[in-house]
Homo-oligomer: 357 residues x 2
DNA sequence: AGGGGAATTTGAACCGATACAAGCAATGAG
DNA sequence: CTCATTGCTTGTATCGGTTCAAATTCCCCT
């Protein structure tokens, strides 16, 4: 036998000789019950070792949990290890603290468990961190019929509440920075336009992208390049999977093949940019003297890389705060929020070396 | 009006012309219900927009939440901003991932809200992060009558399940390192022995400490100093509040007053040690050439400070994993677990400058 | 003493599910 | 043809509370 059955409110009520309703009031609205009755009930409760109503019961009746779930298709430790996630969670925490609400972390790298965890999470709403498997995440969450907002979700779907950044504008501005420095030979390390493809992209493939952020960033880059009189059809664009392997493959194609090479590399993520810097320095190519490199996202590591990375910084904490606000304030807010990004110019960019100098 | 009342299992059952029990089975043990019935129910559910049983209801019946709460008397963002907390949470996450359980973050800097949050958290157990206000936290949690384990709780209370480190041994070993280098003029930057007191401590105050970790570390230091033939009664020990202000005050007393000063500073926390290094360098005192400094805890920043900090490293992630295990495996485990620490020797310690050299 | 209004208390209905004993129908064995 | 089995299905109790209309009690006033 376990410790004998947990005693509950009705036990206390019976033992104190009052109705369950009154006992409930003793704990929830003590003012409305006569002091002597209250004390009697409290005494009995203490004697029986009863310490307040079980939240599980209250919950069912109340409906409100006072906690929101943050879900992602990664292991739980992602929330504490990943720099992006940490800043985001910090923003979320801040906003939630103001409301006195809690956070439930919902996650699993394994799809089956993820589904179950989302289905059974006890929360009032979800914030989805769609770094990976975003569509699946949205699909699963939609079934819960709770308010939710998606972050970093790469789609145009207007039926989903989401917070994003102005990809086009961010891309446009960083490309502008690059051409303003005088670069004309530019290559792009893109993220994926469609699944499972890497390598050089032809211009007409851009409009068939299924990932809208990739597409918009590309368009942003091209807008600035065109404005500078560069023939964008001739600009090499390589799709990568945002990992070292595919980035290196793209770099090999760009640098090993021909006599000339780009003087500036525009990467669509800081991660890719940092891989690129590493690869270049490994080859004795100086950054930014020989080749300038820019990223996108503004992860904290970019500030400490060597050289520090010029990039487009997302307002990550602000996104977190806004997400909480959208959940808690209900559907009164616009379904799609687009935040402005900031251009962060550090030391990975410089004017191109003058020929023959 | 809101969206019309959420439809529930009994609605589906009624609409499908089956009993609620059968409807429940369709979702929980589909194998045992005849395929045609199952399909009928599923069809009705889809039609009515019912997507699976509400976890709130299930919860009450099942009793198990499949999530554990991590509580601390700090704002929520503490979990993501503080380096110690992050490593700990990472360890907790790892262990929880294996069990497929979730995490609820329970916290609030405000005592009243903290109490409420702990009382109403929907969890199977708690891990208490007792950095601050540990006793209050324990008191609050005990009332929930759920399994819990306290981390960094500074007490000898044997009735509380807790995970700690061997403070005495860690202290002994780092002090040994210091005397082995040849230091004889040593000062200690202590944490608090009792509340609300800072400044120099007399030897006899040590045994009246209410904080056992502080006391044990001090005893550990003294054990090594005594073994090296140093008169511990003459060793200056300053209580600080682990903040810049009280650390600086102690340093002023140590370095500004007299002609001689210690050649080694033993701080009881990395935080205090890092403040000390900053203060010393601000005065043009070279670390470790003029003064060696050691810390305690092994926070990640210590590895990147200038110079990198010699310290006692706590097995933080291991503590997190163990905590989860203790909660999930029930009371079968020993109530008090003491983990070994590791001596991390970096560049903030060196032999003392030879006089007149 | 009687009446009216305020202050408490009661009892039962819910909240949304799961579990389990008991019922029923179909199949197989004897 | 009857009795067991097997395989679903049903009905109802239970999980642990909160809520609210109705009933009761209390207090004060005329």
């Amino acid at each position: 036998m376990d410790v004998k059955r947990m005693i509950k409110l009705s036990d206390v009520a019976k033992a104190a000789g009052v109705s369950q309703g009154t006992a409930s009031n003793v704990f929830n609205r003590p003012q409305i019950v006569r002091p002597e009755v209250r004390e009697k009930v409290e005494a009995v409760a203490r004697e029986l070792g009863y310490s307040g109503p079980d939240p599980k019961g209250r919950l069912l009746r109340a409906g409100k949990v006072n906690a929101i779930g943050v879900a992602t298709a990664e292991p739980l430790s992602y929330f504490f290890d990943d720099p992006f996630a940490r800043v985001l969670m910090s923003g979320i925490s801040e906003a939630l603290d103001v409301h006195g609400a809690g956070i439930s972390l919902v996650s699993s790298a394994n799809d089956e468990k993820l589904a179950w965890n989302i289905q059974s999470a006890i929360v009032d709403g979800f914030i989805l961190l769609c770094i990976e498997g975003g569509n699946r995440l949205v699909e699963l969450t939609r079934d819960r019929k709770l308010p939710f907002v998606a972050l970093e979700l790469d789609t145009d779907d207007e039926t989903i509440a989401q917070i994003g950044i102005d990809d086009f504008d961010g891309a446009r501005r960083i490309a502008e920075h690059v051409v303003d420095l005088g670069h004309r030979e530019i290559a792009v390390l893109s993220l994926q336009l469609v699944d499972d493809r890497t390598g050089r992209v032809t211009p007409d493939q851009i409009d068939t992208a299924i990932y809208s952020a990739t597409r918009d960033r590309l368009r942003g880059y091209f807008a600035s390049l065109k404005a500078a009189g560069i023939d964008t059809d001739a600009v090499p664009v390589y799709e990568t999977e945002n990992d070292r392997k595919s980035v290196n493959a793209a770099l090999e194609a760009l640098f090993d093949g021909s006599a000339t090479h780009p003087t500036a590399l525009i990467a669509m993520s800081d991660r890719a940019a940092l891989f690129a810097i590493e690869w270049l320095r490994g080859r004795g190519v100086a950054v930014p003297e020989d080749v300038s490199v820019v990223g996108f996202d503004g992860v904290p590591e970019g500030a400490f890389s060597d050289p520090p990375l010029t990039t487009v910084t997302q307002p990550i904490a602000a996104m977190g705060r806004l997400a909480v606000q959208m959940i808690l304030e209900g559907p009164s807010m616009a379904r799609r929020q687009m935040l402005d990004v900031e251009l962060t110019i550090r030391a990975s960019t410089a004017p191109p070396r003058v020929l023959g100098a």
